[in-house]
Each structure stands twice: as C-alpha cells, then as structure tokens.
Symmetry: C2
Subunit: 260 residues, 2 copies
DNA sequence: TCAAAAGTGTTCAAGCTACACCCATGC
DNA sequence: GCATGGGTGTAGCTTGAACACTTTTGA
C-alpha cells in the first residue's frame, strides 16, 4: 500500500445572497456573499456527502495543472486565479475527524483506510467565468445533480476534513484581500469603485466608507481609469477602472510572492 | 512508475557573521546573519552538490513528523518552530532548471527522471537547539563531512530547485516576522530587548531604532518581563523578557493561523 | 425638484519616526 | 569621571476614520 496523492480545490465566487438567508449581522448585510461548488461523493467513505472537487494527481501533470483539469471536468470552471493553499497529509484524514471507520472499508477487509495526501488549491472565480461554467459528469455529459453551489455561511455536512479546509481558505482570502490586490479576481476587466467595494464588503462582511475606500484604492496605484463612465443608473455616472496589467495575477506558480 | 513523495526542510538559525564576509550594506551590518545546514548528495542526480535535508515520506508518519525525523537524522536538530512552506510538484524538478539529464539516469535506461513531489517545511532554530545538534550519518555515526552550514547570503550551488526554495523561505521569514511574533523562535526563553532587536535587524538586514522598537514590542502585548535583569555588561543592566506562554508557537499543524 | 450615488474637503485621533535626553552600570 | 547601552519624552509627519458637503445623473 502506497500513499495516494490527490489534488483538490476550494473554489470561491461572489453571487447574490440567497433569499431570506439568516445573517450574523444586525445591520443590513452586503447583497452578495461567497459561494462554493461541492461535489457529491458517489462512493465510500462519506458516500452521499459533499466534498471539495478533486481527483488523483496524474503523472504528466503539474500540481496547478491537475487542479485546473479536475476543476474544469467537475465544475466546468476555468478560473484565472488559482493558488496553492496547503498540503494536508495527516494520518487519519481519510476517516474523518472522530467518526468511526465507515463500514464499507471493513467489508473490504482493510483495517486502515488508505493514506491520502491532498494538495489543496484555492481559486477565485470571475462573474463571466462563473456564468460560462457547465459541470460535466463522468460520462462526459452535463452533471447538474452531483455538483451544487452553497453559500459558505450555510454549508451542508462535508466529507473528511473538508470543512476545516474551507474555513482555512476563507481565512486566507480575508487576510490576503487586505494586503494584496486580489479583489479583481472577482471582477470583470472594467469595474466601478462601487463594484470593487462590494467585493471587499462581501468578503470582510462589514460596511466600508465609500469616500475613504476610494482614496485608499487610488493611492495604492493599482488602479487605472479606463476613461469610460457607466451610465444608466439614476445618479451621477461612476468612472470605470481596470487593474494595471502587470498586476493581474494569473496563477502565481511556483511560490506566490505577496504583491505589495 | 508512480510519483515519489518527499519531505524536505529549510532550516534557519542565527549565527555570527563569518569573518571578512562581503556585505551588501555600506553601513555596519548586524553582527549575526542567517545560516542554513545543507547535505551533500551522495548519488545522482546532482551527486556532490548541496541540497536541502529531506527524505521520502514514510507510511506511518504525518507530514510534519516526517520533516522532524529527517531533520533530526541528518542534522541532529530538533527545532521547536516548524511550519509547512510549500508543496513543489513541477514536472521537471528532478533534472534541475535547465541542465541536461544527468548521465547516471540514462545508464539506468530511464528516459524521464522520476517524478518527485516535495513537501517543504521551514524550521527556525534556537541557539540551544543549534548547540545541541550533532549530525548522524547513514551508519548511525556522527557525520561532519556531508552536512555543512552556510550563510544564506553565500550559498554554494544547490541541487534541483533548492536555491529558489531557500529564497522563498527567506522571503516568507522576512514577511512573517513583521506581523507575527516568530522572532522568539531564534531566542532562548529569556532575552533582552536588544537580543530581540538583533533578530529583527539580522533578518531584515537594516538598523532599527532601539527606542521605537521597545515601545512597539511592548505595545503588542506579547512580551512579559521576567523581573530579572542581565548584569555583567559595563552599562545599565537590561531587563529580561519572555513571550507569553500561549503565544509560543510550536508546530502550527494543521494550517497555521497568522497570529496577530 | 428630488433621490441617490459619485466624488471632494476637513477634522480628529492614533501610530510611527527621528532624535534629544536622562539612567545605571563597569571600568 | 567617562563610555556605553538601557530606557523615557516629545515634536512632527503620515495614515486612516468619520462625516459634512458638492456634483451629476435619471426619474
């Protein structure tokens, strides 16, 4: 018995908050919230539970590439932002935190579950990537049944240690958005400062002063006015901005450097 | 052919700067600098080159545990601070960045080098841990020949992509020391503010105002006066401090949370 | 004209930097 | 006393939070 190597991904996208969702905040919460796609396990252990999309690492495949391919196959997504999160390799991962060994494993006469080392990536999805996604099942067809999106503050029971992994990814996102220009990974190429602020407010789950936010973002020098304005709303039309080209992080592979 | 899983470590300790070392700074550099132990490879590829200490992942061994054991076996070290750095799994790692395939591999009739995925940890070594270390060779004896320490700003040629990995570890250290109380990982239990400042100055390679440094460190609330003073020097005896117990990070396993 | 969000100006508090200055010890 | 680093005080600058106020659009 050797060690199995798997690559999984935590995928995060901003979508409208579900109707009537319970919110932890007393004041009005942001209109959007983070969602993540999960796949239903079709075999033991944890058959029927939801899990992070993932699969075994192929021989001819770099780590990030493996993450991309599993992601495209299971969820139909091809996100621009993809970064390694952590490598999990504890001895007891395969049987969950404190649950007894699933019976199917015993049937196979296996005393110990297989040892799995998971390299987990996290991905941020832009609206157009989100819209273009179509999950494909094992037979090559569309698979709307075994892939489903959930708001991250209302998750079902997850297999293995996947809930802890997801929580860790959220911590990382909230930390990183404060010092690194990754909010653009949730936005189209051109956006208003209100759009950008909505990303920050949704991720950090708190209101941000629009006036101060504007000054801070512009002072960082990452933004560039397109010259266009967004008309149509019944108020003063806001300017459109884009991130300066060299700062548009795709996949920071090998090791990500913290952009200033 | 399957994928090999290895665990390696970047180990960092503060030691006196070597005599007459070239320094990048015009002003007087800190008296100490970072050193790292490397092991000499005894087989192809890269036979004779220096490499990060590491070894294959054992079946019965957690990732961090595997790092600890290789570390103790090769360098004799048992550092308190150990944290996962990154997982490297590129396709061409085994044969180096742009070198031709080493001949020994061809002799074995292998067209491609074995695919290796390395989970790399980084460790910070305290002075007493450093002093207690005694490298052990494969036969179980002391091995002073194939393990050697180098200042990180004067490294020999390294095998594989290990130089990039080391550079990445240094970046991470310099970033993390500014927002997390990890400097204690280079210090004994009790230390003066001058000791602590020396760690920061050595890692960041710049002078720090003692007065402001004192106030900042004390304001963070991580330090606690022992009540003792360090006598013997020909000036006012400085107070000794320790880090508050709950903040003494050992091995942040699973995922490290950024301490405030 | 009004509502609503864009965008600007101003004030206040907190934190950091630079540097002057006193304190305690060994020689 | 004198040199040396420990430790305190303080003025000036920068940054960010809070919020008043003007601008520009659609209805």
């Amino acid at each position: 018995m050797s060690i199995e190597l798997a690559v999984s991904s935590v995928i995060l996208a901003l979508r409208p908050r579900p109707e009537g969702a319970q919110t932890s905040r007393t004041t009005d919460a942001p209109a959007k919230t983070l969602w993540t796609p999960l796949v239903r396990r079709i075999r033991e252990p944890y058959q029927g539970s939801w899990a992070l999309p993932g699969g075994p690492l192929g021989l001819e495949c770099g780590l990030a590439q493996a993450a991309r391919e599993t992601l495209r196959r299971t969820t139909g997504l091809d996100p621009r932002y993809l970064e390694q999160l952590y490598c999990f390799g504890g001895l007891d991962r395969a049987r969950g935190t404190s649950d007894p060994l699933p019976s199917a494993e015993l049937v196979h006469g296996q005393v110990r579950p297989p040892r799995v080392v998971s390299i987990v990536y996290w991905a941020l999805v832009r609206p157009e990537e989100d819209a273009a996604a179509t999950p494909i099942d094992a037979a090559g067809g569309i698979d709307p049944v075994n892939v489903s999106w959930f708001p991250v503050d209302d998750l079902p029971d997850l297999a293995f240690d996947h809930r802890e992994i997801l929580t860790y990814a959220l911590d990382r996102l909230r930390a990183k958005i404060t010092y690194s220009p990754i909010a653009h990974a949730f936005l189209p190429d051109a956006f208003t400062l209100a759009d950008l602020r909505e990303v920050y407010e949704s991720v950090l789950d708190r209101d941000i002063d629009p006036a101060n936010f504007r000054r801070q973002m512009l002072a960082r020098g990452h933004l560039e006015a397109t010259g266009e304005k967004l008309t149509g709303a019944s108020h003063r039309p806001p300017s459109l901005y884009r991130y300066r080209a060299q700062l548009v992080a795709t996949s920071p592979t090998p090791p990500p450097r913290s952009a200033s």
